[in-house]
Symmetry: C3
Subunit: 209 residues, 3 copies
C-alpha cells in the first residue's frame, strides 16, 4: 500500500514539474529533468536526512520509469490542458498530502520521535514543490499560497496522533485526507491565515528589489 | 560550551529566517518553515558532507524547539521591530560567525586536514543565509554584501591557526570574534574589497535579464 | 585517467563559476565561493546519492586547490576576456560532458543498473551549472538553452552502450565526445528541439510574474 501511494505521489509531482517546464518553454528533455527533480526531491532529502542505507529511487528504478511516463503523458495530452494552472495546483495539493504522510510514516518506521516525524513529514511534503519553483524561477507556492505549510503540518500531526491510537493504514488515510482537504479548500475558497509582515524602513535595501 | 554556542547560532539564524518570511508576507507556518530551513541548513549540509552517523537535529530535537521559539518570539515582538533590516543583518553576522567556527570545529574533531576544516567552516557559515535568500527570492547576502565570505574565511583561518597553538576554547573564541568583527565592521563602515567585474558584450545574453 | 579528467572538469566548472561571479560583481572571496560550489556541486550530489564512504573532495583536497587556482587565474587574466559569455558557454559545455561520463562511470563502477547509471550521469552533469545559475539569480542554462539536457543524456546513453560492448576508456571517450559535440553544435548552430509550451489562461497567476 505504501508503495502504491508513493508511486501515485511521484506521478503527481512529475506532472506538476512537466507543467512548470512547459510554462518555461523547455524541450522534452528539459521537461524530463524538471519532472524528475520535482518528483524525487522530497523523498531524496528525506532519505538523506534519515540516512537510509539506500535512496529510494536508486534502490528501485521503477520510480524513474513512472516519472518518465507521467512527464511524457503530460506532454502528449497537451490539447486537453484546459486549465493547466488549476490542474497543477490540484496535482501539487494531492502530491503534498501523499508525501507528507509518507515522509512521516518513513521517519516513524525508522523509530524517530514525534517532533522529527512531523518535521520530516512537512519537509518531504514541501521540498519537491520548492525545488520545482526555484528551478523554474518562480516564488515557491509555499511562500505565496494559502495554507500550504499549514495543510502539510495538519496532515503530519493527524498522522502522528492517529498512529498512536489506531494503526498505520488509518494514520496514512486520515493524515492524507486532512492535508488534502485543507489545501484544496484553501485553493477553492481562497482561505488564508493572517500574515506576518515586516517592512524594511532602512535605506540600504535597494539591492533587494 | 559547543552545544550552547550551537543553540545560540541556531536561534539567530531562525530569527533572520522569520524576518525574511515577514518581508515576503508569509503566514505563521510559512514563517516556521523558512526559519527552520535557514537555521538547520548549514549544519545539515556540514553533517551530510562529513557523513556523520546522524544529522544533529534528527539526533536532538531540542534544536527544532529552539527554532520554533525564536521564530514565534520574532513574530510576537513585532511592535519592537524598529529597524528590522539592520537587526537581520546583525543577527545574520553573528550567526555566520558562530556557524563558521562550529563547522570548522566539527570537521577538525572529525580528523580532517586544515583545507577541509576551513572549507567546511565557510560552507557551514554561509549555507543557511544562502538557502534563506534563495527561497525568499532575493540575491543572497554573500553575493552582494561587503566582506561576507571574507569574514567567514578569516574566522575559519583564525580557528585553524589557534587550535594548533592553543586549545579549542581559545580557537572558538578568537575565530568567532574575528569573523564577527570583520562582518560587523564591514556593515557599519561599508567596507568592501575590490570587485571582479565581467561584462557580457555578447548579443545572446538577453534571456538573462 | 579518471582522476585527470575529473580535475579538468572541476577546473572548467570553477572557471564558469568565477565568470558568473564576475558578472554579478563579487569580490575575490565571493568568486572563490561561487567557483567552489559550482565545481563540487554535481560530484557532491552524486556521491551523496550513491552513498559513497567519503565525498570526493573531502577525501582528496587537491580538488579544492585546483578550484582555487582556476578561479584566481580567471580573475588575473581578466584583460583577455574578449568574449566572456562565449567562453563560459564553451567551458560549461565541456564540463557538462566531463561530468556526465564521470557520473555515469562512478555509478557503473558502484554496480548500479543502466537506468541509474544514465540518471546519475545526467544529474552529475547538469547539477553544477544549475547551482551556479540559481545562486547568481539567473534562469539555469539547462532551462533556456538548446540541447543542454539532451547533450548530457546522449553522452550518458553512449557511455552505457559502449561500456557493455568495449571497455571503460572507449566508453568515457565516446560518451564525452558525443555530449560535447551535441552541446557545442547546438551553441554554434543554435540547434534546438521543439519546445513544450503551456500557457496559463487562469486569472490567478499574477503573483508569478
Amino acid at each position: 500500500m505504501l508503495y502504491a501511494l508513493d508511486l501515485i505521489g511521484i506521478a503527481l509531482f512529475a506532472i506538476t514539474g512537466a507543467l512548470a517546464a512547459g510554462q518555461r518553454r523547455m524541450d522534452i528533455f528539459g521537461v524530463l529533468v524538471l519532472a524528475t527533480v520535482t518528483a524525487i526531491g522530497g523523498g531524496t532529502i528525506r532519505d538523506l536526512l534519515l540516512q537510509q542505507p539506500k535512496i529510494f529511487w536508486v534502490e528501485d528504478p521503477t520510480y524513474l520509469i513512472v516519472i518518465a511516463m507521467a512527464a511524457i503523458a503530460t506532454v502528449l495530452i497537451k490539447p486537453l490542458h484546459l486549465k493547466p494552472r488549476r490542474f497543477l495546483l490540484i496535482a501539487d495539493a494531492l502530491g503534498l498530502a501523499f508525501f507528507t504522510v509518507l515522509g512521516a510514516a518513513k521517519a516513524n518506521a525508522f523509530g524517530e520521535g514525534p517532533i522529527i516525524v512531523i518535521v520530516m513529514g512537512v519537509l518531504t511534503g514541501v521540498a519537491g514543490g520548492i525545488i520545482r519553483d526555484v528551478l523554474s524561477s518562480k516564488v515557491p507556492l509555499i511562500f505565496r499560497s494559502e495554507l500550504y505549510a499549514t495543510a502539510s503540518l495538519l496532515g503530519a500531526i493527524t498522522f502522528i496522533i492517529t498512529i498512536n491510537l489506531l494503526n498505520t493504514e488509518s494514520a496514512l488515510t486520515l493524515g492524507f485526507l486532512t492535508a488534502a482537504a485543507a489545501r484544496l479548500a484553501a485553493i477553492h475558497y481562497k482561505l488564508s491565515l493572517p500574515v506576518f509582515t515586516v517592512n524594511w524602513p532602512d535605506q540600504d535595501d535597494t539591492p533587494d528589489s
